[in-house]
């Protein structure tokens, strides 16, 4: 019961969080509620405000408007207190390339106030957990993408932060490293760390406990990936036809079609109509008499397309 109450505890709460750079509104009245020990995802295209939001949450940027509290501290006033309890993994590798793995971690340990035997023990733990033992004396600049990422993660969790913020952590690594990396993130969540991960990969977003879809600085949908897919206010179809490219161009002009993507020789069509099957069949057969239309299960990409399309229409209206 106590554990459950703890799990419901909010780690990040934001109301109307806004950041302007001159005339550009990078983050536009964002409301967030991130709970303890969950992996919370930010999904969105480049420039949608993911990085700016994360930077505001770790006190690097001052919000232009709105209220935000992290780990019970109101920002920006409590920024210095928050900095002791968070880990931040930047989008670009930000440890020292001209220092060795060991020197980088020793520097960070000292900065975080770890010293003596406890610092040494923690470093050994990091080498073992993130497979850095062999690489200890290598310069960070000479590591591969996946190795750098493990080092950056070790640096961000060295001081056992309660909250870990990761800004597109897997953009420079191969699929195997990505899988291993996510296993490490689940281990951390299991141990009670709250994680906030930004990504533009659908498969990664699907692994999060909960998800916020951002588009041009605004929150356009949020909830668990399953919930978001179930609540999709339209339906998805597979269209098999002889001339997929021609059909795609024709469908893209239709008002009820939110998205058309070619997948191999078939098309994946997202409509905003629940009863879209007959309607769509009619449209498609007008172009290609032999076309087959079949309903398929929605995925997160459909949710993403539907949500961003809806926000674009609202913005235009």
């Amino acid at each position: 019961m106590a554990a459950e109450a703890r799990a419901q505890e909010s780690v990040i709460v934001a109301h109307g969080l806004t950041k302007r750079f001159g005339d550009l509104v990078a983050v536009d009245h964002l409301d967030l509620d991130v709970r303890r020990a969950e992996i919370y995802g930010f999904l969105g295209p480049n420039g949608c405000g993911k990085s700016t939001t994360i930077r505001m949450l770790c006190g690097l940027l001052r919000p232009s408007e709105g209220e935000v509290s992290v780990l019970g501290q109101a920002l920006p006033r409590g920024a210095e207190t928050v900095k002791r309890a968070i880990g931040y993994m930047t989008q670009k590798f930000s440890l020292y390339e001209d220092l060795s793995v060991r020197q980088n971690l020793e520097f960070l340990a000292a900065v975080h106030g770890l010293r003596g035997a406890s610092a040494r023990a923690r470093l050994e733990e990091m080498y073992a957990r993130y497979h850095l033992g062999e690489l200890k004396e290598r310069l960070a600049g000479t590591l591969s993408g996946g190795q750098k990422q493990r080092l950056a993660l070790a640096g961000a969790v060295l001081h056992e932060p309660e909250l870990l913020l990761l800004d597109e952590p897997t953009s420079a690594v191969d699929p195997q490293s990505r899988r291993d990396f996510w296993d490490a993130l689940f281990d951390l969540a299991e141990a009670g760390t709250t994680l906030l991960v930004s990504t533009h990969y659908m498969d990664e977003a699907e692994r999060c406990h909960r998800l916020a879809i951002l588009d041009r600085g605004r929150l356009v949908a949020d909830g668990s990936p399953q919930r978001l897919m179930a609540d999709l206010p339209g339906s998805t179809f597979r269209v098999d036809c002889g001339q997929p490219r021609r059909v795609q161009l024709a469908l893209a002009r239709e008002a009820h079609v939110l998205g058309v993507a070619q997948i191999g020789s078939s098309l994946r069509v997202l409509t905003d109509r629940r009863d879209g099957a007959d309607w769509l069949r009619e449209r498609v057969r007008a172009i290609d008499a032999d076309a087959e239309v079949e309903a398929v299960a929605a995925n997160l990409e459909d949710v993403f397309v539907a949500a961003t399309r809806k926000s674009a229409v609202e913005a235009a209206a």
């Binding site: 940027l61 931040y88 670009k92 930000s94 960070l108 000292a110 900065v111």
Partner: protein
């Protein structure tokens, strides 16, 4: 403020410096190169100007005059010509920059105080040559003295000025240049190194990671700057050693006071570097700004041109520059055996510069990205 965090930054900076061969080479290379350049090549004291002589009088006195001028080493007589046209031609070709003309009626002219007895023709396109040649007129020429005295005692005043040179009797440039170079080299290296070292953290993205840690901007800045105090002192030692070994420049005052003055001056340069780092977005910009502060200092501080000869407005401006004050201090201690206490106001000016620069820098330094 935590000493452990400060030391962590110092340690990290030292490891990085040790790995950075280029910076390391610059620490030793810049002082050595500059000292040798300024000491040997850029000899502000001009000698051995290529010259021609046209002696139309050809008397005992005229020959004595030529011999005396030659022995002064200011002029180097390359040619003896027979007609004024040859002087024209040789000067146009650039073979000579000075010509001495002694007219046929030299002896008669010597006897009359109202007419110049001889003439110096100068290639005026080079100002420093002009200045050097002008000195010739004030040169104590024994032969003229003798001639004049013989002909009409007490009336001719040609060798009127006797120049008594105190601290540099042989008029050697390095004596004055070497102490000044300590200031110039530190002004260049200290500002550039610190400004670039701090901006580098931002440019490479390290700052973004550091800002999210408990490290304070003060700890970061001081930690990064401290190693450079040591490097500055190494450079001072190097210049003093080379100055002594190569140019025979003495330290007449207290060596301890030389280092004390240097430390305060280094602090001034480092604080200027820190200030620049708060303005610059890239290492390249930091470099440009450092040079921007460097040039007026070198020109107006009294290193290149004498302070007393500058217009009043330039003198006021020069008072702002740390190099101006340091030059007075270091020349005083090294050459005149002055005590630091006698020049406390110069030291106070440097200290004031440190306080002002650091305060402005701290105010500007934000531990945020926007």
């Amino acid at each position: 403020m935590s000493l452990a965090r400060l030391l962590a930054v110092v340690r990290k900076e030292l490891v990085q410096l040790g790995r950075d061969r280029l910076t390391f080479a610059m620490i030793v290379g810049i002082p050595t190169l500059q000292l040798l350049l300024f000491g040997f090549a850029i000899n502000l004291d001009i000698r051995h100007l290529p010259a021609a002589v046209l002696d139309q009088a050809n008397t005992m006195h005229s020959r004595e005059l030529v011999a005396e001028l030659a022995s002064s080493q200011v002029l180097d007589f390359r040619r003896v010509v027979a007609a004024p046209q040859e002087i024209d031609a040789a000067m146009r070709r650039g073979e000579i920059s000075v010509a001495v003309v002694i007219p046929q009626d030299f002896e008669t002219r010597l006897a009359r105080p109202d007419r110049p007895a001889w003439q110096v023709v100068v290639d005026g396109s080079d100002q420093s040559v002009q200045a050097a040649a002008r000195q010739l007129s004030a040169f104590p020429l024994a032969s003229l003295d003798y001639g004049a005295a013989a002909n009409r005692p007490g009336t001719r005043a040609v060798p009127s000025v006797e120049i008594v040179n105190f601290y540099n009797p042989e008029r050697r440039a390095p004596i004055n240049t070497v102490p000044g170079l300590i200031g110039v080299i530190l002004a260049m290296t200290m500002v550039i190194f610190t400004a670039m070292a701090i901006v580098r953290e931002r440019e490479r993205g390290n700052m973004e990671m550091l800002i999210a840690t408990p490290l304070s901007p003060f700890e970061l800045t001081i930690g990064k700057v401290l190693p450079y105090v040591g490097i500055g002192l190494v450079q001072v030692t190097l210049i003093l050693l080379l100055g002594e070994l190569v140019f025979d420049v003495p330290v007449r005052g207290s060596l301890l006071e030389v280092y004390l003055a240097a430390i305060v001056y280094i602090a001034a340069m480092l604080s200027l570097g820190v200030f620049i780092s708060t303005l610059a977005d890239s290492q390249f910009q930091a470099m440009q700004m450092a040079f921007f502060t460097f040039l007026p200092q070198i020109l107006l501080s009294g290193f290149m041109f004498p302070y007393d000869g500058m217009p009043r407005a330039a003198q006021w401006l020069a008072e702002i520059f740390p190099l101006t004050h340091f030059l007075r201090l270091i020349r005083g201690i090294m050459l005149r055996d002055a005590a630091l206490g006698e020049m406390w106001h110069e030291l106070a000016a440097l200290a004031a510069f440190v306080v002002v620069m650091l305060s402005v820098a701290v105010l500007r330094f934000r531990k945020r990205l926007d």
